[in-house]
Amino acid sequence: MAIRNLLRGTAAVALVCCAGAAFAEPLKIGLVETLSGPQASTGLFYRNGVIYGIGKINAEGGFGGEPVELLEYDNQGGPVGAADRVRAAISDGARIIIQGSSSAVAGQITEDVRKYNLRNKGNEVLYINVGGAAMELTGAKCHEYHFRMTPNADIIVNALLDGMKENGALGENVYAINQNYSWGVDVQNSTLASAERLGFTVVEETLHEVNKIQDFSPYVARIKESGADTVITGNWSNDLLLLMKSAGGAGLDARFGTAFLDQPGNIGNAGAIAEGHFVATSFNPEANAEKSKAFVEDYKSVIGHYPTYVEPQGVFGMMLLKEALKAVEPTEDGLKAADLVVALENATVETPMGHMSMRAEDHQARLPMVVQKVSRDAVYKADESEFGFVPVKLVSAEDAEQPVQDSCKM
């Protein structure tokens, strides 16, 4: 079958080539996402968001009068697969690479794109990062052709802490428990850095193995002993679910402030244990209800469900790209990457949550954040449970913004 499809593919490519000779090349965008294997579920969410976003770009005329073409590549979950899929995408003619589901893959792609651009001056490609949250990507590894459309650890933690403080849910003693790798360390550092500003003490910080721990009760016992009112954690997947379940089982009386509580399956699994816990993300359908409703209904009509988890991030990233593409005139060779870089730096778009724009100094997006609380009163329920997320604070892009890292030298 592989051969059959290969032949068909080759024929199609040949057709496209011949057609291309007559008309201007359409702009090709390569989505290099994790589409198979254990991490595929997150990759598929980003894919949904991007597909919806590209649909919107094409609905408004695409680029240079031609619809934008989305090429999909499976990075097979790791940096090695991603490295050669990026090459494949570029040799297939992609001028923009999009990816989101892992910071490790993002680290590889951003470096690959940087090196490709060094070797191919005048023929550069862009990397639009819709999900990699590691601080490093807009820090030591930042470069002109990388754009992060998603909040980083600093933005998420600060918005979360502000929102919890305003709602009187922060308390004075905070416990930071995180996974021991770049993301967890970033969250811990951001938590420690905000302690003075918001007047709380970090009673203890813990870094633990990533997705290997089956029983969190010793950790929960330590949290209990420390007398913490609040637990701040960047944990995701099983590490978050099992931690919350252990805490529920041990009767721990502390609020959780999280970054990934909205990952599908969490609320359905945790049930009442998650009630009253907080999460900060870049979208909630109840915030700015009128605009959001139009967006979520339209999204549902295209993708089949309301946007959840990281899907809105993907969509907002594409909205900013759409604005930037409008400001760029296609040259004879199609898109000139340097023009798009300037256009993206100057683009502003109105998402259902508010203004979103791109900071020129380090290419970190400025975007509004929503602090939310798990509650039975939510209009949009999660995982078909009786719980959902109720917004408690909408942080504007200006308030959510965090300073540029010193390590970023463009």
Partner: protein
């Protein structure tokens, strides 16, 4: 014998002119195939020739990969270590780590040996994320291939030739190694280690040495990968990499010399092509492994070699006809199975669930035709074609068996 050399020469010549024959994207696939082939050959030396099944070969691959990335950054591809010689760093570190790990793991044999190799690899894998300076944490360590010897090393073609030369050289060395007394002793180790010991050989030292040589070539393959992607990340230490090399080698045929290399090249190419065509390529990969183990336990290359060595009494023409019939009927069955699997995957996909609502089931396009999932036609067609293919294969097999019986 001459025939063998002609094929070998033709294959090398084909590899040498490949950059003029295929597109950049396929050349990229060829680089990955060469690296996977060399890694599998290193594994094949240990598992096929010396009979030691290692479940942790990713460790030595990874050690070589990281060592060469660090060397790339330290030397900038100049001075003592210009870019083309960087794989030597991977080979050296692979050798050293192989001597250390081999000393411990070869103290035991059989399943205990496998468990120790697995444990050592997991040890390194668990340690790597914590040693951010050595392994670069989650983002890995990145480097840049510097020009050397008047070559840019920027294009696919340059990297392809670099990989090709090192891979062919290594496979040649591995072949020569298998002809040395030490290489012959490896076979003795596999067949009867006790007898070797009674004959006065130090089997522990022998196993350690062979383990180290295998780890050396694994490290070299790792270094080639680092050179290729200009980075290294601790995911190369994952057990998935160790498993892949075991599967690839067994699919190719671990006991024939080039079996692991061809198995690895074929499976890498399969993954490269199919992962963009279908979401369920891992399922196909698993099915292929199960089928090869069930029906071709010697591996693909092993089976072909066996057929050439012991030709059936039918004569060449008849064997070729039977083979063609078998392959044709299996291709029919495979088409049926792929049709059903792909159709099922599309029906169950989120995109389809998005449009299929309120009892309305729109048609699905598969192989350029539209099919309705609620009608029996596509399901019946897929299952029917599959059954037809299997039935044909059974008939071909029965005929062949009957012919052999008549002749006997």
């Amino acid at each position: 014998m001459n025939f063998k050399y002609i094929i070998l020469f033709a294959a090398v010549a084909l590899l040498a002119v490949l950059p003029w024959l295929v597109s950049d994207s396929l050349l990229n696939a060829a680089i990955l195939m060469l690296i996977a082939a060399l890694f599998a050959m290193a594994f094949g030396l240990l598992c096929g020739q010396a009979g030691m099944l290692s479940f942790g070969h990713a460790a030595y691959f990874g050690v070589g990969a990281f060592a060469s990335v660090h060397a790339m950054n330290a030397f900038d591809g100049e001075g003592l270590l210009p870019t083309p010689l960087l794989p030597l760093v991977g080979a050296a570190t692979g050798l050293v780590s192989g001597i250390l790990a081999g000393y411990f793991s070869t103290k035991r044999t059989g399943v205990y040996f496998s468990m120790i190799t697995l444990a050592l690899a997991e040890l390194l894998h668990a340690l790597a994320p914590h040693l951010k300076h050595v392994f670069g944490g989650e983002a890995g360590i990145s480097s840049f291939r510097m020009p050397a010897w008047g070559i840019e090393f920027g294009s696919f073609t340059d990297v392809y030739y670099l990989t090709l030369v090192w891979t062919l050289l290594s496979i040649g060395l591995l072949y020569l190694f298998s002809k040395t007394p030490l290489g012959r002793l490896a076979l003795g180790l596999r067949e009867n280690a006790h007898r070797l010991r009674f004959l006065g050989y130090n089997t522990h030292a022998l196993s350690t040495l062979i383990f180290a040589v295998s780890a050396m070539f694994a490290g070299l393959a790792g270094a080639l990968q680092s050179l290729n992607i200009e980075a290294s990340n601790y995911v190369v230490l994952e057990s998935q990499i160790s498993t892949a090399v075991v599967l690839n080698s067994f699919i190719g045929g671990v006991r024939v010399f080039l079996g692991p290399a061809i198995g690895a090249a074929v499976m890498t190419f399969f993954g490269y092509i199919s992962s963009d065509l279908t979401r369920v390529w891992l399922l196909y990969q698993g099915i292929i492994f199960v089928l090869v183990m069930m029906f071709l336990p010697r591996g693909i290359v092993g089976e072909i070699a066996e057929r050439i060595k012991n030709p059936s009494c039918d004569g060449l023409a008849q064997t070729a006809i039977t083979m063609a019939q078998r392959i044709a009927s299996l291709a029919i069955a495979a088409f049926g199975a792929v049709f059903v699997i792909e159709f099922l995957q599309r029906v169950l996909s989120t995109e389809y669930r998005a449009v299929a609502r309120d009892g309305h089931w729109p048609d699905i396009t598969l192989f350029t035709y539209d099919w309705s999932p609620v009608s029996a036609v596509p399901w019946g067609l897929g299952i029917g074609v599959f059954a037809l293919g299997i039935r044909l294969a059974i008939i071909v097999n029965r005929r062949a068996a009957a012919r052999q019986e008549a002749q006997a």
